[in-house]
Symmetry: C2
Amino acid sequence: MISVVIIGAGNVSTHLTKAFLNADAIDVIQINSRKLDNIPAADIAIIAVSDDAIAEVSSKINSPLVVHTSGSVSMDLLKNTTRKGVFYPLQTFSKGKKITFKKVPFCIETTNESDYLLLEKLAKSIGKKVYRIDSEQRNSLHVAAVFVNNFTNHLYQIGSDLCETNQVPFEILQPLIKETADKIKKISPKEAQTGPAKRNDLKTIENHLNLLNNRQQEIYKTLTKSIQHGEKL
Amino acid sequence: MISVVIIGAGNVSTHLTKAFLNADAIDVIQINSRKLDNIPAADIAIIAVSDDAIAEVSSKINSPLVVHTSGSVSMDLLKNTTRKGVFYPLQTFSKGKKITFKKVPFCIETTNESDYLLLEKLAKSIGKKVYRIDSEQRNSLHVAAVFVNNFTNHLYQIGSDLCETNQVPFEILQPLIKETADKIKKISPKEAQTGPAKRNDLKTIENHLNLLNNRQQEIYKTLTKSIQHGEKL
């Protein structure tokens, strides 16, 4: 049995707690980061609070192993005097959208091997995929995640806005969105690239720019330039 | 039985021909656009060539109904003297990646209702989803498709580049990519938006910019600005 205390009340802590509650080998409780005066003892304390609060929260915890769940914070930022680690589930968590942890990659960093094995066991109690990722690699993964998640979602939003403006149902773009995401499991993004930027179809590019507002035009131009630049490398 | 001749040798014509060959109610042949001197008669001629070649190819065809498959070309560009239409399957087609037409939306435009019904029948012989979309709406769908497919794929490419640079397997981002695409079936892109741009986390944004090359920085800044601007609207 591994005992775990999860500190935080956001999406990551809530989804993780729910998952651990269903794992036989894990004993879990979730506490709010504002009630740190009476934290129950546990083998592992998981800090799932906003990046800015990690240092302060960690300084108040004395579980033998303290980890945070952030993609962009170094392990050294933890201020506990006991052992440290990172337990970063690389996925997007939202209220009202269930997560299948079996498919979530867990990126783990520790200072010693026995802690790595302990966190690996913890991850495998709810998931399947575990990776050994150091702070520098995790940083680059986090910025990559911003591109493939935050920015991609914003492009979906623009697609949705364009549909709304032209009275076309957004659902019509859904199969394309799905296929675009599926395709890169079989072929690389480089091989999958198509479109007017790729084939330098200036007439279509000009037509498209005429259909967009200033903000959309700027994104269109920046990404078109990058696709064409990438080709020339 | 509907007889169809498909002109073109690219991905769209090849995938469409394959699908029609499996449809009992369709009699199909595919011909190369360079061999237009001896086109067999058919109820419908489908022109699936590059946008620039559509006008010229259409002028040489005298099937009773001639349609093109392009998202960005107006129906009026067809130069045949018989009836005209558009039969636009809104999906990304690649060599070596099978297409499930049951999930492809067919965007149809015609000048008269009986042709609409004929093209609808044609679409439903291989697919399920049919939409009545005029040239203006199709134009806006096409530019929206560039955002959610071409540009999104380019963001995947940047994610892949960042992984390669930092010796992290790209597969680690795949579940996030899939979840990002899946999520917007349940909640809108606006509700699904997360990340440092959304919460105006300047420290993380600055950290991220330091990890990127000039071209990636420009994209990061443009999209971050757009996400923040969108919030203020």
